[in-house]
Symmetry: C2
Amino acid sequence: MTARSLTEAAIVNAALEIVRRTGVESLSMRGLSRELGMSAMAAYYYVANKDELLDLVAARALADIPLPEGDGSPWPVQLRALIDHVDKALRDYRGVGEVLLDRMHRTQKHVMRAVMELLSEAGFSDAEVAMAYALIHTYLFGRYRVTAAPLPVGDTGDADPDDIVSRVGPLSARLAGRDYYDFGVDTLIKGLESRLAAAPTNGRRRRG
Amino acid sequence: MTARSLTEAAIVNAALEIVRRTGVESLSMRGLSRELGMSAMAAYYYVANKDELLDLVAARALADIPLPEGDGSPWPVQLRALIDHVDKALRDYRGVGEVLLDRMHRTQKHVMRAVMELLSEAGFSDAEVAMAYALIHTYLFGRYRVTAAPLPVGDTGDADPDDIVSRVGPLSARLAGRDYYDFGVDTLIKGLESRLAAAPTNGRRRRG
DNA sequence: ACCTGAACACCGTTCAAGT
DNA sequence: ACCTGAACACCGTTCAAGT
């Protein structure tokens, strides 16, 4: 055994574990150190503060996302695949989307770059790329708070067939998270395609 | 003066004030009571716990949203107006979107109903109404975490014209929150329209 | 170099006690 | 009925001290 029994990697791993099991809000500096068998302050030797820890957790969770190959497939297909990979990387980590939302810009540029390149190649102007990226980012990361709160199933069981809310309530119990996700991403991409179709000369293609 | 010098309404108002000024995360039960000139535990007489307080704050912030009149305008226009009103109700309250996201289903049904009715009338099936509502909700409420973290302006000032990320960085400084919002909502609604156009017989109109 | 312990300034919540 | 004070079990962070 060398002198140190802890490493930054071990700390970040343990933190990610805790977030996956119990959610972000129950990750504490003290509890983390205790979980590693150390004194309550041990983690502070490797990490300046909780914010830095959350940055490292965020970076780690998104590190292994496969980027588009640049094969010949149409941009909506490639964009959809990339979004699916981000979603997969986030799905298991309860509350991590919330963390990442604040931190992705600071810590993790390669996914952002891949999305932006796809959009730029598709024909969007630089300003549109900025806005379209923000839209996708917002939907994807906002999702992890919404899916935690499903639509209420009719409170007293009174399904009024003329009331849309009480019709949708029980129905939403049969819809899987997958259904919401597919509908959402498809609609976003359809909306983007519809924009390009309406003003196809907006973008300036690079290496066109 | 009557016996009581505090009311639930006063407490919720003060809480909403604090959230608007300093964000949700700096709202505390103790600090709130102190701000009202009472002892640290005073608020507990009117409110069971912090969760209940957040529910009341959420309900209050969304209470006065004007619902669609049911005039003859096309559904995308009415939907856009309704979304704008929700946005306006949220805009001034830092972090309140985050609170509401968890709580809207529990506390505030009339906005949800208005959105769902518009979508149902437009021709979407009940399942599609559920998913489209979730999409809109996610975007609208997720926004209040994203807009707090603007895209990074080129870190070292090196604007590489061939790199989409460094092109978009400085550009995003000139884009207003309004631009992102308009683009986002327009794209969502375009995506929904595109869905209806692709499968126009999907929905069953009520009172058609 | 790596870790600990005590201390400070906070939290949310409970509950007996005051008026 | 309305509010207070003390207590409990937590936080994040700092910093002198231990090995």
